[in-house]
């Protein structure tokens, strides 16, 4: 429970800074400090238990299917890290209070800081790998915000994005690694995982898991070759650099090494990967640091090199190495944080970070100078300072590894060299900044000591350096012991933290490093020239370059694939279809089935021939649009005949009327569109289209024939059997439409209704000047409402209505029905419209078309719903037969009411669609006026 509070205190406190945002920096800082203070006190309350080696843990199942539990674990290692996070965190808060100016968005800064603090605590305290990964990514995200805090600077923006890309990407690799581990171990709980070391190392997936995890570690801890993001993260405000990029976040990687040490370490893979990455980083960082002119740049690269050192230590196969590593983590955190803060002060006071300009600050800010010097001597590994101790241990550990066989001398040699360089750059930091002549045109001059409280954090940290350095055994040893034990997972070998081990190899190495460092710094001029000679590798520029390059090439390739041509997309669709069909039809043993073919009768054959021919003609004449349209109508008509021929009178009727209306519509459109179409597709394209079309046609024929020549058992018999008894109609098709499958019909008329309003919406505000002459130059008739047509229309209307009533009534038993009736009425009305104009019709009908269509849908639905109160499901029909003179016996079924709905919708919808088009000769009115 305590652990939960410990982790989530900062998260809950994120709002506090905003609450007091108006009251100025001090208030905000205080408000921010509350949560860490609480957390710290909670942590300290556990000290005694932890030092006894107990493990305090908390577990609460969160997502069992994922194996993700809300479990936390406080042991020596996590205690140590939490202490660093909270302690240094508090100091940073105090420091930042003075670092940030009044004008900046201080509250937002501190909020992000708390967010980060919480994530970091979660990361080190998590007792479940997945949970840890969540916090891991959270640290990346919050650091993204912190690095980009000064978002107006492009350096900050790019630095932030780069850091996110690298660490975030590493996080994803780590995720994969963790999933692999979970897959092998069968649990993400740290307890189980750490116990399963042997199992994992024996498993074939071990290398995969290791590499993935290390990817995460190396990106986070800025190991070569992923180190490049860290120097650019320095464009963040200095408190952030001090906190995230030296003390805590970059330590997350090495923390993970410590945490998973029992699980992953002790194999050749581990040794070579970790050791050599560490070694490379150590050297690269140390050397590069020396040549930085930016104060923070120097510190950044030195951080990289120290992280390399820690990584290297974890790689070594000796038992004491991790102890040294953890010890160095502590020491580095203290002296590097203080150095960053000092650098921040200098930047703050002089307005510059360029060591070529900042010189001789000793006489302006002696106090700061002393602090900085002590800290950097610790960094250099000068005796009586904590840095010296861990570096001693480091040197001695490099001597104790044997896996390199006859090359084992290599490591100590390299280590000493790196040590020399670190001495050199530490020396430069001191000499260049505080002595070495006088300042050169600084933005702020003369610089002076910062506010009293801004120095306190630095003092505290430097004091720690001294204390640990002088009295290691009394101060740090016990904590270090439990931490190391928690990491190793077993009892520690004998070792003692003393300043004096007598004259031995490590001491000699330190001595060499010290002398060598001084020598290097003294003779730096030629080195600098050599370094200037190197190609200027700027990670940020490269990264941005890569991103821009990718961006360009990707969008080019994509716009090639995705060229916005519908013809391409359609052909892709059809090709996909053709391929799929061919693939799945190949196993078909033979196309022709077992059913005997029906005899060919010449008349039908002729009809089919005509149909095919006129289809082809439509295709051929598609550029002469009117001609093509005529051909098309022929096809439509023959289709109707074919329906009739194959005993489907309903279809024939429907097809006939629909055909008429469609052609009418197309004529209207042709009137407005250009009459001819140019040839655009290249011959090649047309060949492609021809082939695709041919394939589709062929496949259709094959499918048709294959099915027609095969027997099938259908549900039709049920309908034939129940049509009269259950549906009360002898026209089975109609009964299916309004009863068996009435739901389809309801949907169908809805479609019609929607289409109607859709077209209205689509035609809004559209107006076309009418052409005066047609495409052959013959003038259009100017007479709006021709007399003869008017007479005709008035004559036809009543007839048409009568017919449609007849068709409608007989629908249920004979071919006919609401739909056909509706279309007939609609056509008649359209004719009337053409004759007298739409308004004329509207006013006389006294009903707006949309309402008519809507009414249809509503009637149909209502009919269906009527059966619910009677306890029957939707659309259940009932009927009774009555005899009406002249028409004969008709049957009044509730289904007929439904059919009435169909009728209304069809009339309303069709009229709405056509009249809409009919009127765009003039400006189209908004639907309000319809």
């Amino acid at each position: 429970m305590i652990l939960l509070a410990l982790v989530f205190a900062p998260f809950f406190a994120v709002v506090l800074p905003f609450l007091v945002a108006q009251r100025g920096r001090t208030w905000i800082a205080v408000a921010t400090a509350i949560a860490p203070l609480i957390a710290l006190s909670l942590l300290l309350s556990q000290t005694s238990q932890v030092l006894e080696g107990d493990v305090i843990s908390f577990k609460q199942v969160w997502i069992s299917q994922l194996g993700l539990n809300l479990s936390f674990r406080l042991d020596g290692l996590s205690y140590l890290f939490s202490l660093l996070i909270l302690g240094i965190g508090l100091l940073v808060i105090l420091y930042a209070r003075y670092y940030l100016s009044e004008q900046e968005r201080v509250a937002r800064f501190f909020t992000c800081l708390l967010l980060f603090m919480g994530s970091m605590l979660g990361l080190v305290l998590a007792g479940n790998l997945l949970l840890m990964l969540i916090f891991w990514e959270l640290t990346s995200l919050s650091s993204f915000l912190l690095i980009g805090f000064w978002s107006q600077q492009s350096a900050a923006r790019q630095g932030a994005r780069m850091a996110l890309a690298v660490t975030g990407g590493g996080g994803l690799a780590l995720l994969a690694g963790i999933l692999v581990i979970g897959h092998v171990v069968g649990s993400y709980e740290l307890v189980d995982v750490l116990a399963a070391g042997e199992l994992l190392k024996a498993h074939t997936l071990y290398p995969v898991a290791l590499v993935l995890v290390l990817l995460g570690v190396f990106t986070k801890s800025a190991q070569f070759p992923f180190h490049f993001w860290l120097p650019h993260a320095m464009s963040a405000p200095t408190p952030v650099s001090a906190y995230l990029h030296s003390a805590t976040m970059v330590k997350a990687g090495v923390f993970l090494l410590a945490r998973l040490y029992p699980l992953l370490s002790g194999t050749e893979w581990w040794f070579y990967l970790v050791t050599f990455t560490g070694l490379t980083t150590l050297l690269v960082g140390a050397v590069t640091a020396l040549f930085q002119n930016d104060l923070k740049g120097l510190l950044a690269y030195s951080t990289i090199s120290h992280l390399g050192l820690i990584t290297l230590l974890f790689g070594l196969d000796s038992d004491l190495a991790p102890v040294a590593a953890i010890f160095h983590i502590i020491n580095h955190a203290t002296f590097k944080a203080s150095l960053f803060m000092a650098a921040g002060i200098i930047d703050h006071e002089t307005g510059s970070r360029d060591m070529r300009r900042i010189n001789g600050l000793w006489k302006y800010m002696p106090h700061t100078a002393v602090l900085a010097m002590v800290a950097s001597s610790a960094m250099a590994g000068v005796p009586l300072l904590n840095g010296f101790l861990s570096k001693e241990m480091f040197f001695s550990e490099t001597l104790h590894q044997h896996l390199l066989g006859s090359f084992s001398w290599l490591l100590p040699a390299m280590a000493t060299l790196a040590g020399a360089f670190s001495v050199a750059y530490s020396l430069r930091f001191i000499h260049d900044v505080f002595f070495n002549g006088t300042p050169i045109n600084l933005p702020k001059f003369p610089p002076h000591e910062p506010p009293r409280y801004m120095k306190i954090p630095v003092e505290v940290l430097v004091f720690c350096c001294l204390l640990v350095g002088v009295l290691p055994a009394w101060t740090i040893s016990s904590l270090l012991a439990v931490a190391a034990q928690a990491s190793l997972g077993h009892v520690l070998p004998e070792y003692d933290l003393a300043i004096w081990h007598g004259f031995n190899m490590p001491l000699l190495m330190s001595f060499i490093a010290l002398i060598g460092g001084i020598a290097i710094y003294a003779q730096r001029a030629p080195l600098v020239r050599w370094y200037e000679g190197l190609p200027d590798i700027n990670g940020r520029v490269i990264f941005e370059g890569i991103v821009r390059l990718l961006f360009g090439s990707v969008s080019r390739t994509l716009s090639y694939i995705e060229n916005g041509s519908l013809q391409r997309y359609i052909s892709l669709l059809l090709i996909a279809v053709v391929v799929m069909l061919i693939v799945w039809l190949t196993p078909l043993s033979r196309v022709t089935g077992e059913v005997a073919l029906t005899p060919v009768d010449p008349l039908t054959a002729l009809g089919l021939g005509v149909m095919a021919l006129s289809a082809l003609l439509t295709m051929g004449f598609h550029r002469q649009r009117l001609t093509a349209l005529l051909m098309l109508s022929v096809v439509g008509l023959v289709v109707a005949m074919v329906f009739a021929r194959f005993s489907a009178p309903d279809l024939a009727l429907t097809q006939l009327v629909v055909e008429v209306v469609t052609i009418l519509l197309m004529l209207l459109v042709v009137y407005f569109l250009p009459a001819q179409a140019p040839i655009e597709s290249s011959s090649l394209l047309r060949l492609r289209d021809f082939i695709i079309a041919a394939c589709c046609g062929g496949l259709m024929s094959v499918l048709t024939f294959a099915v027609l020549t095969r027997p099938y058992e259908s549900i039709a018999d049920f309908f034939l059997a129940n049509s009269l008894t259950g549906g009360g109609g002898t026209n089975v098709v109609n009964v299916i439409l309004v009863d068996f499958r009435g739901f389809d019909t309801l949907g169908e008329i809805s479609v019609l209704g929607i289409t109607a309003i859709a077209t209205v919406a689509l035609l809004q505000g559209l107006s076309l000047p009418r052409a005066r002459v047609d495409n052959r130059g013959r003038p259009w008739s100017t007479e709006t409402y021709p007399m003869v047509l008017g007479m005709l229309a008035r004559l036809i209307l009543p007839l048409a209505l009568l017919v449609s009533v007849f068709i409608f009534l007989r629908g249920h038993n004979e071919p006919g029905g609401g739909f056909i009736a509706g279309l007939i009425t609609a056509v008649a009305l359209i004719l009337l419209q053409v004759a007298y104009g739409q308004r004329w019709v509207q006013t006389r009908m006294g009903l707006r078309f949309p309402d008519l269509a809507a009414a249809g849908v509503l009637i149909a639905t209502a009919t269906g719903l009527a059966s619910l109160p009677l306890g029957y499901p939707f659309l259940t029909s009932t009927f009774a037969h009555i005899n009406v003179p002249f028409i004969g016996e008709i049957e009044v079924a509730s289904a007929m009411l439904f059919d009435l709905g169909v009728y209304f919708t069809v009339v309303g919808g069709t009229l709405l669609i056509l009249s809409g088009l009919g009127r765009i000769g003039h400006t189209v009115k908004l639907p309000e006026e319809l």
């Binding site: 039908t604 089919l608 005993s647 097809q655 629909v658 407005f672 046609g697 002898t730 689509l762 809409g916």
Partner: protein
């Protein structure tokens, strides 16, 4: 008979698809109509071919399969709705974009799919024809 029907449907599909693959909206509309004819016929004959059989119940022994007919009826209606919509859309596009090309631009300019086709300001040139 079956063979003839199959071939006819094939031819309709062929000419329909070819037209659908043209670059002008109206040709595409023609193609879609032809294709829908083919599809309706196909759907219809899925109930097999029955010549000269009663459409409505009487004392005849065998009947045509009514189900495909019902389906085709629905299909025809929906097809009608869709055709009319696409026609009107074509018209609107033509007047708005000044071109009856399916991509809404005369193919002098190139559109890339990545939403960067900002170059076409509303042209009224089409209206002048």
């Amino acid at each position: 008979m079956e063979l003839l029907v199959a071939i006819t449907i094939g031819v309709l599909t062929f000419s329909g698809i070819y037209l659908i693959l043209r670059a002008r909206t109206f040709s595409v509309a023609l193609g879609l109509t032809l294709f829908s004819y083919a599809v309706n016929l196909f759907l219809f004959v899925m109930g097999r071919l029955h010549t000269g059989q009663p459409a409505v119940l009487n004392d005849a022994s065998s009947y045509t399969d009514p189900v495909p007919q019902a389906l085709v009826l629905t299909a025809i209606v929906i097809g009608f709705a869709m055709t009319s919509f696409v026609l009107i859309l074509a018209l609107r596009a033509y007047t708005e974009l000044g071109s009856d090309h399916v991509d809404g631009v005369e193919k002098t300019k190139k559109i890339t799919g990545l939403g960067r086709n900002k170059q076409n300001k509303k042209k009224r040139t089409g209206a002048k024809r």
